[in-house]
């Protein structure tokens, strides 16, 4: 792909000491916890934002908080950049390393430490996958609410770094609303605990600050999260429309009427076809846009809410309404939706945008997006969390054609600016990473940015934590 997005130049002080750094790290970690052979570093050069790649200096795979602390302390002392990594599923390049960085990957720290049903909390290591928490507590009637589409693979540590959302966040909130406490290692190796098993702590809400800090304020090694009791029942319903605008307007009306379903997901025709090919969920193929609306509660509650939603949908000329008939069918409907990005690989390479807009602007932004992408001669598929206006246009392109790739990136930038100009923001849940870094000035003034950077500097004066991300490279104080 084009190299429009720059990385910080490697630090000479680090590059000239490469061999010594590896030798030193080998003192701190057991052999199976350190990767440094050139060949073996290659698979760590990128994440799910695969257009950009940088070979790291080494990869540490610690098994304990103490090992994380030892590595951080060392890197802090010698000014070696550190790039945290969970499962490497970031769509914004949050885990892409740089030549002078040590990747600190928490994939070996994947144990569930405590399930406390009395307090409705789970305490887990940061490398535990999002879905495995819900799986561990499912038979006891609980679940962990935020459900990013990559929940099968993505880790809680990564979710905290990006303040991840998901389809069901419309009702239950994003990661920050479900995180109660963390154990984390500060840049100098000090280990602190924030929060606990309760909803608020005295003093500053540092936990809120950590959540979404993209691995720049320290490394979370353990997290205590809220468990939620499963509803009595849950039912996804499919609403098919003849036009995307109608579906968009319908979403705005549902929310405006005060109804909050658990999830309202949107798919346009290309997305429906892609997902159906993988999941065989029985999505209607003869509509231009599809809403998956999930309601939950008792049968009576679900019926009542559905009835109101159907009424609103009729006002927008809904073409098909299909209630799902079984748990298996419901599972397939969600499987298809959650696999949408990966399944897009069946037809093309893609980059996925993450802008969020006010619901009243949904239809407008959808139309404009189509225009923008078309003006670059590319195709787009839309599949996103409509209920909270979190759009995910997937711009399709051919990664083996550099011109095509450059166009995709340019189109993406225009779409994100459009979202900001429409009163929204650059990122709903994927984080800024490197992908949206250079657009931050479109959203924030210099004063805003400097204030954020000042907070960052309070944690990491030497800018070693994930340094190429979030803030534009120029104008850093």
């Amino acid at each position: 792909m084009s190299e429009a997005i720059q990385f910080l130049p490697p630090r000479d002080s680090v590059m000239s000491r490469r061999a010594a750094i590896v030798t030193d790290l080998a003192e701190l970690l057991p052999p199976e916890c350190l990767v440094h052979e050139a060949r073996e570093l290659v698979p760590f050069e990128t994440d799910a934002f695969v257009s950009y790649r940088r070979l790291p200096l080494a990869v540490a795979l610690p098994k304990t908080t103490a090992q994380v602390a030892a590595v951080l302390k060392y890197c802090h002392r010698y000014g070696v950049p550190v790039v945290p990594r969970g499962a490497g599923t970031s769509l914004s390049g949050g885990a892409i390393p740089q030549e002078d960085a040590v990747v600190l990957c928490l994939s070996k720290m994947a144990r569930i430490l405590e399930l406390d049903y009395a307090n409705r909390t789970a305490t887990v290591q940061a490398g535990v996958t999002n879905l495995s928490i819900s799986e561990a507590v499912g038979t006891d009637g609980f679940f962990y609410a935020p459900d990013p589409s990559s929940q099968l693979a993505c880790t809680i540590g990564g979710n905290i770094g990006m303040n991840s959302g998901g389809a069901h966040c419309l009702k239950y909130g994003v990661t920050t609303n479900n995180l109660l406490g963390v154990k984390m290692v500060l840049v100098d190796g000090a280990v602190i605990e924030l929060g606990g098993k309760h909803l608020d702590a005295s003093g500053y809400d540092l936990l809120g600050l950590i959540c979404g800090s993209e691995g720049q304020l320290g490394i979370v090694t353990e997290a205590t999260v809220r468990l939620i009791a499963k509803p009595e029942g849950a039912r996804p319903v499919l609403f098919g429309f003849e036009a995307s605008e109608a579906a968009g307007a319908c979403v705005a009306d549902i929310i405006a009427s005060g109804i909050i379903p658990v999830a309202i997901e949107f798919m346009d025709k290309p997305a429906i076809e892609i997902c159906e090919a993988f999941a065989h969920a029985g999505y209607p193929l003869d509509v231009a846009a599809l809403l998956i609306v999930e309601v939950e509660g008792s049968e009576a509650e679900m019926d009542a809410m559905l009835q109101s939603i159907v009424e609103i949908a009729r006002r927008h000329q809904v073409k098909t309404v299909r209630e799902c008939q079984s748990a298996t069918e419901a599972a397939l409907i969600w499987k298809g939706r959650k696999s949408a990005f990966g399944a897009t690989g069946r037809i093309a390479d893609y980059i996925c945008m993450d802008g969020t807009v006010p619901l009243s602007k949904l239809s407008y932004v959808l139309n404009k997006t189509a225009e923008i992408v078309e003006s670059f001669g590319l195709r787009v598929a839309n599949v996103f969390h409509a209920g909270d206006g979190n759009m995910h246009p997937l711009i399709l392109f051919n990664a083996n054609d550099p011109a095509d790739a450059a166009k995709a990136e340019a189109a993406g930038n225009e779409i994100l600016k459009l979202c900001v100009d429409a009163g929204g923001c650059l990122t709903g849940e994927h984080g800024v990473g490197i992908e949206k870094r250079d657009l931050m000035r479109h959203q924030y003034s210099e004063v805003d940015l400097h204030q954020q950077m000042a907070v960052r500097a309070a944690f990491d004066e030497g800018w070693i934590m994930n340094p190429s991300k979030v803030f534009p490279l120029d104008g850093r104080a």
Binding site: M1, E32, V35, E37, R39, E40, V42, P43, F44, T46, D47, A48, V50, S51, L61, A87, G88, T89, C105, S107, K108, M109, A110, G127, T129, L131, S150, L152, A153, C154, F278, S339, A340, F341, G342, A343, T344, G345, R346, D349, Y350, A399, N400, A405
Partner: protein
């Protein structure tokens, strides 16, 4: 994702195919979560996505395989859980096949590794040699603890530990194939197999009885050899293709002379390979079409039985934990049929947790990678035992041997339970375990 191959590289049809597979991968990472080795080791390099990337780097640079790549590819079980999980439809199976062939051609393994692999490739596919080896193994078992102390010899110890303690005999030895009874419903060939008849002849005996009872004529054409899976997974391509061609000849001859509705396979590991003959021989114009025909005729025994509409029987009061072999659920995508057959036959069926994870058997994997295999076995057995079922059913001899060394629960082939339910004898293994 983006790839970097020259036109000259792409002129090689195998490279061209791998390039297409690599292009499909969008590096989303979903597959890591269901990969048994990633779940066990927690290292990207031992995940599907990591392996795909290692293979990509090796092929793009036209490099011979090296120690690092070989380490991580060798740890792959070829369980194909990643193929089931991948939303993008990445054909990891054929990519890793290519990588293994490339390794076999370009990498010289350490001496002990070479000897053990050579020994396996020269014994397992041949029933006569296998029988002799098992006898030797029974005498050699006391040596196992000593062998375990030397890293390079651990595979030998694993081999000795896996050998059953008493020789298995067919209850139908010398009786021939039972005659089909009643209305004739089909004519099929059954794969006799190589390791399975030595380790557990009762499986095919049960299949033959069951098929005959429901009016299916079964033939075992002369000249059939090992399906080639064992050597195929070691990257020994010439030997694998040689096996494949000989079997294709045998079955096509039978098809042309007597007619065949299906080629029945009772070991899903073999089934996955035979269903892939069409692909394995795609570059051989003399065999391409015949091989594709054979692949289209290949059916797992449960897949075939599902088409016979077997009568529903009363509940038996026997609870079965169904273990789906990787080659069954991921390789052949046969998920519901075996369980439905068991339920129809009156068994209560339970699904162990983490059913998508491999038991660690994986062909010769439990011999070549005893540590990871052992961890997977322990995890599998724990999940199976948690079902509190009376008996374990599965459709692959490899899993049966592997799991049997980790639990006291009886483990049977699905078809043995079905044969029993539909009037056959109570399976020996179930009788023994139930009595003890």
């Amino acid at each position: 994702m983006q790839t970097n191959f020259t036109a000259a590289q792409l002129a090689d049809p195998q490279v061209a195919e791998s390039e297409k597979i690599l292009r499909r991968c969008v590096h989303c990472g979903f597959c890591t979560a269901t990969c048994p080795t990633y779940v066990t080791l927690g290292n990207e390099l031992d995940s599907p996505r990591g392996r795909i990337y290692l293979i990509k780097d090796m092929l793009e640079n036209g490099r011979p395989a090296d120690e690092q790549v070989v380490t991580h590819i060798d740890r792959c079980l070829s369980c194909l859980a990643c193929v089931t999980t991948c939303p993008s439809g990445v054909d990891y199976m054929h990519l890793v096949d290519h990588a293994r062939i490339h390794i076999e051609k370009t990498y010289r393994r350490p001496l002990a590794d070479r000897l053990i692999r050579g020994l396996l490739a020269k014994t397992l596919p041949y029933p006569g040699r296998m029988r002799a080896a098992l006898t030797l193994a029974r005498f050699g078992r006391p040596l196992s603890p000593f062998l375990k102390r030397i890293q390079a010899l651990r595979p030998l110890a694993a081999m000795l530990d896996l050998a059953p303690s008493s020789p298995a005999r067919s209850s139908m030895a010398g009786l021939g194939i039972p005659q089909a009874s009643g209305e004739r419903r089909g004519r099929v060939a059954i794969l006799s197999g190589c390791a399975q008849p030595v380790l557990d002849p009762g499986i095919n005996d049960a299949a033959l009885r069951l098929l005959a009872r429901f009016g299916v004529e079964v033939v075992t054409p002369e000249g059939e050899v090992c399906c080639g899976a064992i050597v195929h997974h070691m990257g020994k391509e010439d030997q694998a293709l040689d096996f494949a061609r000989r079997n294709v000849d045998v079955w096509i001859r039978e098809l042309e002379t007597g007619g065949l509705d299906a080629i029945i396979i009772t070991a899903s590991g073999c089934g996955t390979t035979i269903k892939d003959y069409g692909h394995m021989l795609r570059l051989d114009p003399a065999y391409r079409d015949k091989a594709a025909k054979v692949s289209s005729l290949a059916k797992d025994i449960t897949e075939y039985l599902a088409g016979l509409d077997l009568p529903r029987l009363d509940a038996k009061g026997v609870t079965v934990a169904y273990h789906s072999a990787c080659s069954m659920q991921h390789g052949q995508k046969i998920v519901a049929a075996p369980k439905n057959l068991l339920k129809t036959a009156g068994f209560t069926v339970r699904d162990p947790a983490e059913g998508h994870l491999c038991c660690g058997s994986a062909g010769t994997y439990n011999i070549l990678q005893p540590e990871i295999s052992g961890q997977l076995k322990a995890r599998k057995v724990k999940n199976i035992e948690a079902t509190k079922a009376d008996v374990i059913a599965t459709g692959n001899i490899g899993c049966m041997t592997q799991i049997a060394t980790g639990t006291a629960m009886p483990i049977l082939h699905t078809v043995e339970l079905l044969d029993w339910a539909y009037g056959g004898p109570r399976p020996q293994k179930y009788k023994q375990k139930a009595a003890s």
